[in-house]
C-alpha cells in the first residue's frame, strides 16, 4: 500500500486524466509545439523572442495546471539569465568558462522541458500511441516505446521494495549500490519475460494494421496554439 502510495503521488494526475479530458490540447499540437520551441531556443537570435516564448509557455503550463513545475522551470531560467548577465561577466574567467557552457545548455533545453512536462503529466500514453499510429510510426517502435514507459512505474515499485529490504538488513553506504543491482536486474528480467508472454498471447505480433478504440480531433485551441508557435518561429528566423 505504501509502495503504491508513492507511485500514486507521482501519478495522481494520471488517475483523473486517463481519458485525456484534462489535456490542454491535442497531443499532436503538443508534439508540434515541442519541435517549434526547439527551433526557437536553438536559433538563439533574440533574447526578446526567447523571453516571449518562455512567458507563453509558462502560461500554457499554468493553463494545464502544472503550475508548480512552471514555477520551478521559470525560476531556473531566471537564475541562468542572472548568472549569464551579471555574475559571469564580473567573476573570475576560469569560473565563467567552466560554468557558462553548462548554463547555455540548460537555458536551451528549458523551453523543451516546459512542453515536455505538459506532455508527460497531462497526456495519457494511449493518446500518444494513437498519434504515432496516425503518423505511421512503425508498430515495432511504438511497442518498444510504450513498454519502456510502462516500465518506469514498475521499476519504481520494485525499487521501493528493494530499498525496504536493504534498510531491514542494515545495508549502508557503498554496499547499497551493489546490493541494489542484483534484485533489480532479476526482477526486470522476470517482468520482461512475463510481460512479453502476455503480450504475445494477446496478439501483439499480428501483422494486420492496428486500430484504436478512440479518435482525436483538432479544436480551435489547437489552431491558436500552433499559430502562435508559427508566428514565433517566423519572427526568430526574420530577426
Amino acid at each position: 500500500m505504501g509502495i503504491r502510495a508513492n507511485i500514486m503521488l507521482g501519478r495522481a494526475n494520471f488517475l483523473e486524466n486517463t481519458r485525456g479530458e484534462k489535456a490542454p490540447a491535442d497531443p499532436r499540437t503538443m508534439i508540434i509545439l515541442l519541435f517549434m520551441v526547439n527551433i526557437i531556443a536553438f536559433s538563439d537570435k533574440s533574447i526578446f523572442i526567447e523571453l516571449i516564448t518562455i512567458a507563453l509557455l509558462f502560461s500554457l503550463l499554468v493553463y494545464s495546471r502544472c503550475t508548480r513545475i512552471g514555477f520551478i522551470l521559470i525560476g531556473m531560467f531566471a537564475s541562468i539569465i542572472f548568472l549569464q548577465y551579471y555574475v559571469f561577466p564580473n567573476s573570475l574567467p576560469v569560473f565563467a568558462t567552466i560554468f557558462s557552457m553548462l548554463s547555455v545548455y540548460i537555458r536551451k533545453i528549458i523551453p523543451s522541458l516546459m512542453v515536455g512536462s505538459i506532455i508527460i503529466k497531462r497526456i495519457p500514453m494511449s493518446y500518444l500511441i494513437l498519434v504515432f499510429r496516425k503518423w505511421r510510426v512503425p508498430e515495432r517502435i511504438i511497442t518498444i516505446l510504450s513498454v519502456t514507459i510502462r516500465y518506469f512505474p514498475a521499476i519504481r515499485e520494485e525499487s521501493t521494495h528493494i530499498k525496504d529490504a536493504m534498510k531491514l538488513r542494515g545495508i549502508k553506504g557503498f554496499a547499497k549500490i551493489e546490493a541494489y543491482t542484483v534484485p533489480l536486474m532479476l526482477s526486470a528480467i522476470n517482468t520482461a519475460e512475463e510481460l512479453s508472454a502476455a503480450a504475445v498471447t494477446r496478439g501483439i505480433e499480428n501483422p494486420i494494421k492496428k486500430t484504436s478504440s478512440f479518435d482525436i480531433q483538432f479544436s480551435i485551441k489547437d489552431y491558436v496554439f500552433i499559430a502562435a508557435g508559427i508566428l514565433l518561429v517566423i519572427s526568430t528566423i526574420l530577426v
Partner: protein, 475 residues
Amino acid sequence: MIKINHLTFEYKPNSENLSNIDLKIKEGECVLLCGKSGCGKTTVTRLINGLIPHFTEGEIKVGEVYIGEDRVDNLEVYQLAENVGSVFQNPKSQFFNLESEAELAFGLENRGVKMECIRERIDETTKALNIEKLRSRDIFSMSAGEKQSLAFACVYAMNPSIYVLDEPTANLDYKSIQLLKKQMESIKAEGKTILIAEHRIYFLVDLIDRAVYMEDGVIKKIYSRDEFLALNNEERVLMGLRTIENKSTIELDELKMQRLNEKSTKLRSYLNKETIAELDVRNLSFSYNQSNVLSNLSFKVASGEVLGIMGRNGQGKTTLLRCLAGLIKEASGEILFNGKRVNTKERNRLSYLIMQDVNHQLFCNSVWNECSLHDRNIDDETIEAVLSDFDLLRFKDSHPMALSGGQKQRLAIAAGVLCGKKVLLFDEPTSGLDYQHMMAVSYTIKELAKAGHIIIIVTHDMEFLECTCTSRLEI
C-alpha cells in the same frame, strides 16, 4: 476442441518435463489441472496457448496439439489468440498500458477491429463481468485483485472460445477469488471451454467437469467431478492438494506434518533467552494519499505467538507491516515494545520483514555471503548453525538465485534470524504454494515462534492461517 496427442516435451535436452501427455477436452468443458509445484501444470497450459513451441525455449519430442482442426505448431501465436485467451499468475506483469481503458482495447486493437466495435465490446465486457468501477483507472493504483479482474476482462473482451488460466488466484484474497469464480461461471454459461491450473481448488468444485492430476510431468489420473470430490482428506493430502472445502482439516494436517518433517531439526533460539517480549500496538492509524487506510488498530502479540492478519487486497495490510517494521511512520497511535514506546528507527532494528517476493531481499552472490552481509565479523559457527537449521548448509556456496522458491524464502528468514531480529513479519508467505510447501512454511514459522520470536503474518490463505496462527485479526 483441444486435443493433446501422446506428447513429450523438454525445456532442456534430456530433461523430459512432460512425457506422454494425452488429453482431450470437449467444447464447453471446464478442466482443472492439479498437482504439486513443478508437476508440469503450467507447461501444459503453455502447449495450448501456443507459448510452446512459439515462445518458450524447449522442444516437443513427440506428439502434437490440436485446437479444433488446427495444429498449434502450424499457427502463429496471434492466430491462436483468436481462439485462446490466457490469464497468468502474476497480476503485476500482464499489462502494457498504464490505463485500464487502453488495456481493455489492447487485444482488439491488435486484431484491427474497428473503433466503434471496440468500444461496444468494452461496454459489453464491463457490463457482463460487472467491473464498471475498473474503467478509466490508473492500473498501477489497482490492488492485485482488481488487476487480475482486469486481466480476465481483457481476455473476455477478445471473446475467445477457450480460456487458459494459469494459477490466477495466487495473489488474490477471498473476495477476489469469489469474483473470479463468478466470472468463470458466466463464461462457462456461455459455453466456453476452460482449462485452469490451480493450487487453490476449493472455489472450483462447482465449476469443474473433470480434474487432471499430474505428477512429475505425467498425467497420473483423470477424475470426473464426482470422483474428484469423493477423494477423502488423506488421499488428497498424499496427492499434495489443497483443501476442497474452504477450511482446513487440522487434525489430519498435524499428523501429516509430523510425517513431512521427520527429518527437519528443531530450530535453536538465537535470541537472548531472558526476554519474554511483547509488542503492543495501540490505536495505530496511518494515511496514504490523503485518505486514511487504517485507523485505530490495536493488538498485542507476545513472543511465541503467531498473529495472522487477514483483509482484502488493497486494504493496507502491507502498509501495516511496513509501519511495524519502521519503514514508514504512523500517523497516530503508538507501538510499544515491552512497555516502552519504539520509534521507526528502533522498530527497524527490532523487526524484519519477509516479503512476498523474496527476490527483492537477496543481494549476494552466495548463500554464505548473504548470511554475513549485515555484519562481516559474524562468526562462522553461528552462520553454520543457522544454515543447518534451515536446511541450507549444503547450498552454502550456491547463488541465492539458483535456489528454489522455498529455499529462497528460508534463506531470507535465516538472514533475518542472523540479524538478531526479534519481530518477524511475513507478507503472504504462501502465495502460489502447494500443500506440501505450505505445510513446510507453516512448520518453520511455528518453530520460529517456539524459539521466542514475535510473529505477524499477513495472509489470504485460510488453510495456512488455520494451521499456523495462534490468534487472528481481520482488518
